[in-house]
Symmetry: C2
Subunit: 302 residues, 2 copies
């Protein structure tokens, strides 16, 4: 991808982030409500500067199958709330015990552990409230909403994100093999990325073969994203990434580069992205944003 | 209510608990799955001997409007999962810091804080997975499911249970007035009881005036239940209730009896139950279980 394309995906992501931030601002109640602390705490982490990759993918996927990005915005934002809840809980002292994220103090360092746990709980719950809110999605058939709620809750639960975090937690300080590392990456990261893409397509009435192709695309870029994240953790300086880089190594958390080496990891991520592009090769130009995002994932510097 | 009626409500609740326990056993994946710890931890708390009041109310409400209890069983069990998640998180050291519940060690005392937080997260998520599972509720229209998911998530979230727990947490050790106590009780307990009753009725196609009457009934027995709980906390011995009784007082947690006195609290609970019975006076004999449960709530000894 040349610098021209890079400029264009940069603009696309910036515009996507603006749309998502604006919507989250509307959907998330403010601290004028009671009790103010919980809204302040939830908002602190939701607006801590995320890239909004998952909601942007959800909207791009809707567009790729002929839908409208704004139609799926409530579900896209709900997925971002689930992502934020998972970060708040992962950072807790009894989990990864992180003091900083994206250059800011973690939620529990500012609001205390009790409120941080409750802010995560509330964001997770609010996500399902938003996904089931008729008034925001009048044109979406109820059957599609139920299907999407079912898929998102599966991806976030026992057999998805929570399962991945449990395995991650139980692996700390242990020698971990490739299979376990793959399990953690797939469950902590890939499944929520894949379901973001599926949700946008399902809500827009995608045909089965489109949905299958997008699922394959999602699995590959989801894993590539996590590998790229592992590489960035080693390479970036604290200033760029805004969290303690090299912190994975310090805590003896297993990563792709640690197990497979830096160059083979880079190669693996690149191959995954090529595969993802092949998965959606028969889509027309409406899938171009998905193509650009796939390339961006392994080329980003933060 | 004479001893004959008491015997009959006892049998009814026992049978209800059996049906709910059996269903939860089927719906909740076991520790043969990976990673086993999280299923073990979630099941430890789900099967710690709850009365299953919320799911029983959900089924009884379905029956009261001419529906079938078993049809709403997945949603009834989902609400019990949400209830269990809230207990696990409430007991954490950064919240109420309880070592025992129902005579057993609390989740985090057995599995550690990290796993306890994740077990709560997984149960909350699984509740929405179960409520959106077509295969368990083929005959329920999607519109009703979406409405119920929306109401349950509202009751459990910022403006419901989480809001109540935040206020409870922020009130510990402070002088609390009646309004704040009322806010905590309504949000921590009443709203989830009311939504259990509404969910059963909505799923069964209740008419608007039935739904309104059941909502009023729910608000009153929900509050009566919490007042009765406060009274039991003072009166019961540890052996009967299975948790540190008098622990509210010890931690200077505010309760109805502490603020209003024991007898006025008893009177208040009794009046609420009378009001609840009046709310559903025009329902036929299919609402008899709801009537018996209302009376049971203030007469129970544990």
């Amino acid at each position: 991808m040349g610098s021209e394309a890079l400029l264009s995906i940069g603009t696309y992501l910036k515009e996507g982030k603006r749309i998502v931030d604006e919507a989250l601002e509307r959907y998330l109640p403010g601290r004028e409500n009671f009790p103010p602390t919980i809204f302040e705490s939830a908002r602190y982490s939701v607006f801590a500067g995320g890239k909004r990759l998952r909601p942007i993918l959800c909207m791009a996927s809707a567009v790729a199958v002929g839908g409208v990005g704004r139609t799926v915005l409530p579900v896209a934002c709900a997925i971002e709330m689930i992502h934020t809840y998972s970060l708040i809980h992962d950072d807790l002292p009894s989990m990864d015990d992180d003091d900083y994220r994206r250059g800011k103090l973690t939620n529990h360092k500012v609001f205390g552990e009790g409120i941080a746990i409750l802010a995560g709980d509330a964001l997770l719950t609010e996500a399902f409230h938003l996904m089931s809110a008729w008034d925001h999605m009048k044109d979406v058939p109820a059957e599609r909403l139920v299907t999407v709620i079912n898929e998102v809750s599966e991806a976030a639960g026992f057999f998805g994100m929570v399962g991945g975090q449990v395995t991650d937690l139980e692996s700390e300080g242990k020698v971990v093999d490739k299979e376990t590392l793959h399990y953690i990456h797939v469950h902590k990261t890939e499944v929520m990325i894949t379901v973001s893409i599926r949700a946008g397509a399902i809500l827009s009435g995608a045909r089965e073969e489109e949905l299958n192709a997008l699922t394959e695309y999602g699995k590959k870029i989801g894993l590539a994203f996590q590998i790229a994240d592992d590489i960035l953790d080693i390479e970036s300086s604290r200033d760029v990434l805004g969290k303690d880089t090299g912190s994975d190594e310090e805590r003896k958390k297993v990563t792709y580069p640690a197990l497979m080496g830096l160059e083979p990891s880079r190669k693996k991520a690149f191959e995954l992205v090529q595969g993802a592009l092949a998965d959606i090769q028969y889509f027309d130009e409406k899938a171009d944003p998905l193509r650009s995002i796939a390339k961006f994932i392994v080329e980003r510097k933060s």
